[in-house]
Amino acid sequence: MSKDLLTLKGVHTHIGAYHILHGVDLTVPRGQLTMLLGRNGAGKTTTLRTIMGLWKASQGRIEFNGTDITALATPQIASMNVAYVPENMGIFSDLTVRENMLLAARGAKHAGQMDDTRLKWIFSLFPAVEKFWNHPAGKLSGGQKQMLAVSRAIVEPRELLIVDEPSKGLAPAIINNMIDAFAQLKASGVTILLVEQNINFAKRLGDTVAVMDNGVVVHSGSMKELAEDENLQHSLLGLAI
């Protein structure tokens, strides 16, 4: 078993006529939380979508757990025990919160079969999910939808969790809960790949970090190193903290 759960080597992605990713190299070490940072439009979301098979890599190789998944279809990738929270949250607004959760729980045939203790844990992190259990998800507020999206991804244990900007639109208190949640998941052995704009979030959770710009990874290393080096932060992310 290799050290890295997920590796991307020289991945290129085209969307229609646009060439978006220009040879992304990325490794996600097993059991760690990897942060993917970068300016708007750097290609983070595209990278995650390419991993999930939602865009097809036109060149390069993606390996998960030693298997080449570059050409696999999305459902196959997801079935290899991968959970994904997309940037637009992917809430099924016609369905109730309960039904949304049920679909994410692949093992359960009906709501009664979902893991109770795990649900309790999710409810304690995101009270809104419990409160609106039987409501159509489309009626939730922006932040509540975000909570539901993350809850869905963690309703069953997964080996790899890929999350695109989970803190967007969340109140500070809930962001704290979410940080706790990721910390607990990590402690239970889950590998996490996280895109985040919230730099505090990144600093508190990240083990390793990769920074993208213009469709390539321009820096990778440990989070600690980046957090301590303000110059590096400035040149990579264009901000002073």
């Binding site: 970068g38 009626k139 208190a173």
Partner: protein
């Protein structure tokens, strides 16, 4: 005199009271931040003001005029401008066309808004000129012929603001304008808001979860919690108040 005011504004969804008797007034030349936990009712409050939702009770007044019963479009024409939490533009039209539509909407009288069919014979160069001006103000003139769908996220948010400027609204309502923007991009939007703030005739309402932004921009903060207005005052006091510390910032850890 306050420009915009709400009195006992309330809405119920079934048994759930999303906004509960909120009474509040907003002065011209000020920026008021609205904060509160997720699901507190901030967006819903905006929806009630701009007319997207019908209030169960209470009223909204602008310049002393009661807006109850007016449609969203009528409220916009009365001077309420609103940007949306999720970007909401005309994706397959060009940047210039997007702004021009707002300019056209701002012109008084049915004639200008295109309803008078004789206007099909008239020239509409003036509309284009004004649209160009607005795009210059937000530094997007170079992208005027791009389709909005092809713009990066940040530019789309900028365009949202440009539309409000073109509408020449008196009240500007921003719902998390920087959501999903990183620390390097967000300042562009914030600068635009800052620029608007300098106009003493404009009233600005801002919903935002990033406390550093709120702290820097707001003249005043109001706090919604479970639909009720629970705090109102200058930024420092409100942020320090126990309700914000606990329910919102989660310092004492116990969230909605």
């Amino acid at each position: 005199m306050s420009l915009l005011a709400t009195k006992d504004l309330t809405i119920r969804f079934g048994g759930h009271v999303a906004v509960n008797a909120v009474t509040c007034a907003f002065e011209p030349g000020t920026l008021t931040a609205i904060v509160g936990p997720n699901g507190a009712g901030k967006t819903t409050y905006f929806n009630l003001i701009s007319g997207q939702l019908k209030a169960s009770a209470g009223q909204v007044t602008l310049d002393g005029r009661d807006l109850s019963g007016l449609s969203p479009s009528q409220r916009t024409r009365a001077g309420l401008g609103r940007a949306f939490q999720l970007t909401n533009l005309f994706p397959r039209l060009s940047v210039l066309e997007n702004v021009r539509l707002a300019v056209q909407a701002a012109r008084d009288g049915a004639h200008r808004r295109g309803l008078n069919l004789w206007s099909i014979w008239s020239d509409h160069r003036a509309l284009m000129q004004r649209a160009d001006e607005v795009l210059n103000e937000v530094n997007m003139a170079d992208k005027e012929n791009e389709l909005v769908a092809n713009l990066p996220h940040g530019d789309q948010r900028k365009l949202e603001v440009a539309l409000l400027m073109a509408l020449e609204s008196k009240v500007f309502m921003f719902d998390e304008p920087t959501a999903g923007m990183n620390a390097a991009e967000a300042p562009v939007i914030l600068n635009l808001i800052r620029k608007l703030k300098q106009d003493p005739t404009k009233t600005i309402l801002l919903v935002e979860h990033k406390m550093d932004v709120v702290r820097e921009l707001a003249d005043r903060i109001i706090v919604l919690h479970n639909g009720t207005l629970v705090a109102d005052g200058d930024p420092a006091t409100v942020i320090a108040s126990p309700i914000v510390q606990e329910a919102y910032l989660g310092i004492a850890k116990e969230a909605a």
